[in-house]
Amino acid sequence: MFLLCASGESVKVFSTATEECLHALQGHTDLITGVLLRPSNHLQAYSCSLDGTVRLWDFTDGILIRTYSIGYPIYGIYASAKHEGVIFIITPMHTDTNSELFQLVAVHLPQCGEQLVEAKELSAVLSNISSNPAASAFGREGQYIVSAKPLQLEVYFFKKHKSYSFFLKKDNQKGGKNTFTCITCHPTEDCIASGHEDGKIRLWRNFNHRKEYTYSTLHWHHSAVSSLRFTPEGTNLLSGGVESVLVQWRYNQESQRDFLPRLGGAITHISVSPDGALFCTSHSDNKITIIQSCVKVSAVIQGLVKGDRIRTDLMIEPRSKALVLNGKPGHLQFYSLQRDKLLYNLDIVQQEYIHESGLEQFEVVMAAFDASGSWLATVEERKQKAPELELNLKLWAFDDQKQSFVLNTTISAPHEGRITALCFPHVSDGQTTMLVSTSRDGHFKAWQLAAPAHTEDEGPSWSCDFLGAYHSLVPECCCFSADSSLLAVGFQEVVTVWTPASWELLTTLSQPPGAVRDLCFGRLSCSKYLLGATTSRLLCCWNLLTCSLEWVTSMDVSLLLADPLSENMAAFCFEAGSTDLFVFKPGEPRPLFSHKALCSGRVTHAVFVPREVMLESCDEASQWLNCSHLYFLTQSMDLLTFITKAEEDKLTASSKQLVVSDDVAMTPFHLLLGKHRDQLENPQAESRLSVEPIRQPSSSAGINELLQMPAHVLPSASFLCSMFVQSLLISVNKPSEQNKEKEEEMESEKEEEDSDGEMESRISRPEHMPSGESGCAAPALTKEEVRELRRLKKLDHSWMKGLLD
């Protein structure tokens, strides 16, 4: 079973069994608005996009079959088995872009073999409809199509070429909450189900008469119904909304309901597999849940959780090098940057999340790891505005057995005001036993890990050790020096430097006007410097040996951070609507690297991620990336990073290779043959490929196996011989062969169109979409090889797998 999911400019195909993304159907150049199975062939799918094209895909293999160019942005797509060769799309009524009016248009798809077809036969069906694709639906066997406007239901009968409209009163109780949100039709009966803003579901019947229609109302959801779907047999109706509960109503016995609660974020879409065995819900937090129809979750496909806001800093968990940030409400997510995979969510708040808009929830606003990753401190807040602020400081210890963080201490109301900063000292070896928090109540507190006072207490816990203040100013930020012998706390205009050993105030530094917003100690050879960014657009650098100002420069620093492995510091500056990045050493006057107009808006979250292997880059401009990556989050919540030139080359090379290996079915022969093809394709990458272990035949278990295999289970010796010998050879480029293959390719492509998605066509099809990078003609197998493969398909060649490794 496959699951298709429109995601940005590509359609992702997931396996429902393994939750893996098999391929991404790429080709659209704008946001994809709809995906639909082709009613006449369940192995093909249509997708429509705002770029004005509808594309037909073979999604099992990830091939683009045809592109229909419509010419207008498309907001939704519908098709029905009854209307062969016709699709219905939602387009704006006027060609100008900002039109608010939309129409449903029938498109006759021209039948011809071309790749790119311009579909011109358009006929309007319904006009002035909603652009929401969920607000229109096909009725029983494609006899009618239903569309909902805010307070009106319009049914168009194809047979009679007539449309009926049904109106709801604007507000039968309170507010205009009667509006339609989504609609679906019963597959075998004349029944329309509509979801409403106030959480009601109405079942409309008898609507082929203008006057005698009836409807019944179901009410369970407390806020808007966002998606409705009937199962293919029409026995059940599924509904979902912001409550994150999937409700299954029995058709005709609506009092019987099944619930599947706590699925995650708000449900945005529901879809049902054609055989009705699986349901699938997509959620607002970047998650897809696959549900067996006995109402049991069978799989979860989860990407980087997108919260409403990132309140915590970006952090790196020192043990797993995972990126840590806000995830699900009340959780921290641990996201592996190397594998691009969500590792796990850590429940910080540990309370039942109530899905209700306008409810004040606990939010994780602050988190910090100590240097060794054995402690995590989190701050959660509720009712930030109100005087009765609820605040909890929690400390989590890493449990080696569970490989996770376990709650050690909860400190409720650690401060009277909101906490502005939280930091652990950088202890290189040994245990961290201190935490400093600063708050708007004008104090900063040092928390100490104390051994249990009595033997019967279970383990060490944290308690307040010191409470400091400075002239009742509000501390905004704090920072420990690299060796943790100094603590700098920024009290508005004044930076105070304390020694944590005795909690004495050593000195104060200040550079008025403007409050200090960000503080950062230099590291390694620059550890005598303290940098501070002020609100008056100044970046100051103090020398702690002389306690004097070293230099000042005028820039509006929105974020200042230090690379943990080098002296480098990065400053994100907000300048004229966009952000500039400067990377510099505090001791040197010239920045190492600067990038103007990095992105629009302020960058407030960034992190240096230590590399696993240091780079030996000699390039001047990218030297600062030798120790760490720099990841940052833009205002539109995109996570971006910098890479060096060499890395970029490597990345593109590997992605090319990935394309090759993805496209070809993994027959055992693939790598035997594919190896040569790789070399043909990337002659420049030969040095890399020449170290493949296949060139050490003496150690290959596969060859041993081949020699010990009984003769009657082997393919013919004449075939094997050449293959075997070839695998031992060091191949050279044959440019002439490449040309020859190009001709073969055209032939095989025609074959493929006739036989929809057979095995052979899969192997011999081109690697790159024609619409993709043009001119990248890829080699394919020769015809002889294809034939041989076809012959060998029935044989058991699992033994050949040994050759692959």
């Binding site: 039942e352 109530i354 033997t455 279970e458």
Partner: protein
Amino acid sequence: MASYKPTNIPVYPKLGEKVTEETLYWKNYKTPIQIKEFGAVSNIHFSPVTPYNFAVTAFTRIHLYGLLSQEPVKTFTRFKDTAYCGRFRSDGQLLVAGCEDSVVRLFDVSGKVALRMFKGHTKAVHVTDFTSDRYQILTGSDDYTCCLWDIPNSAQLNTYQEHTDYIRCGVTSQLNRDLFVTGSYDHSLKVFDARVDKSVMTINHGHPVESLLLYPSEGLLVSAGGRYVRVWDLLKGGQPLVSLKNHHKTVTCLALSSNGQRLLSGSLDRHVKVYNTTSYKVVHNFDYPAAILSLALAPEDESIVVGMTNSILSIKHRKPSEEAKETAGHQRRRPSYRVYAHRKSYVPKQDDYLVSKPVRQHLAKYDKQLKKFNVSKALDTALETWIRGRKPEITVAVIRELDRRGTLKNALAGRDEQELSRLLSFLIANLVDARFAPVLITAAEMILDIYQSIIGQSPVVDKQLLHLQSLLERELDYQKDLLEVLGMLDTMFASSLPKIELPCSGISTSNGLPQGQSTASRPQVQVN
């Protein structure tokens, strides 16, 4: 699908004294038995042999009590005046007592008439004791002298006239028959050796010495006088080891717990304090209704007997040990053999496929209601009598959870007189508790908003509301007073502390919080 997360019941730090093993040990006594004596109980002494009778000296009598009896087993009444210091010999056969009339009497515990009368002192004898060889008696008197007497021929062996004030305490060494220590109101302790004619060591206590105690090893000597308990190292020539000042009135008596690990001191301030003899920290404290004059512990700490100035003798017996109770309970509740054997004995074989049963999440009653969004019922369950009384933190946690869900108003509304009065009585009991105040104040405000209109309809509710009002007024006054005290303390600290260039005002203002929240910011520690 994540499972339902139950309501988080915060663990509040225990207010008041910390529960330690010590407190558990010393609290494990039954309620005291109180016996009225004829006068102030000046001395209690346990017989060193079974059945561990104890002699209680009060006014003109000495009563012998059995360990578990509440009636005296025997009474010695042949005193002309107030008796002092009834003490057993180490074989438990003889009893000696001093008297106001300066005569020392020796009794056989089974007889009534005194076996010997030692006459020689000129004033009241407050101190008597047997030496460790059992043949001699030490006495100390208000005539500033102490004497040694021979029991067989009732002769005065030796007299020491070194003290310059009343001798009010003395103790003989249990290891050496010749050594004894006396303490006097002249602030000094003297160690005597019967083989020489004068004291061998003099230690200045600094206050009139009321009581003396030798450790079983006899290396350490404990003296009590004034508000001080002092420990001296005899082997180092009477070097002071530690000075304890934990009472606020004169310490009158000392005792060691049977294993010598704990030292007890009783005082006129009506407290008995228990010290750890390694750290000399107070580990426990007993309160008594009157000033304490005498104190004794039965062997194995089986009972604590305290005599007071109001002539009351208080006896606390140890509760039977936990183990004995536990084994009895275990036997009663053991399941039948079949069930027991079946569950335990079946071991899955190697190739068995184990189908694990999904673990059913157990939810408390209020959580079940909360899961179903039955907010009123959830509050009702949390307000059940035993939860409300025993574990108010659960009720408060449920109220907090309802508030978080934004449904507290719905849960509080629509209650009849009985339910409302239950709610109000909970508020009255817990509103001023600093741990619960932030949550309950919100709830109280909501209740007043909702039920404003029905005030005056029910006398019960009106009475409770008035009570609540007076409670709040009183609390406001307390807070005001506290703030005043805090201000005074601040000025005192500011003037008394040496002037350091420390711009931090934190030390003194850490508790200077606005009223109503004075303890809300106390770190709450929850150990998981």
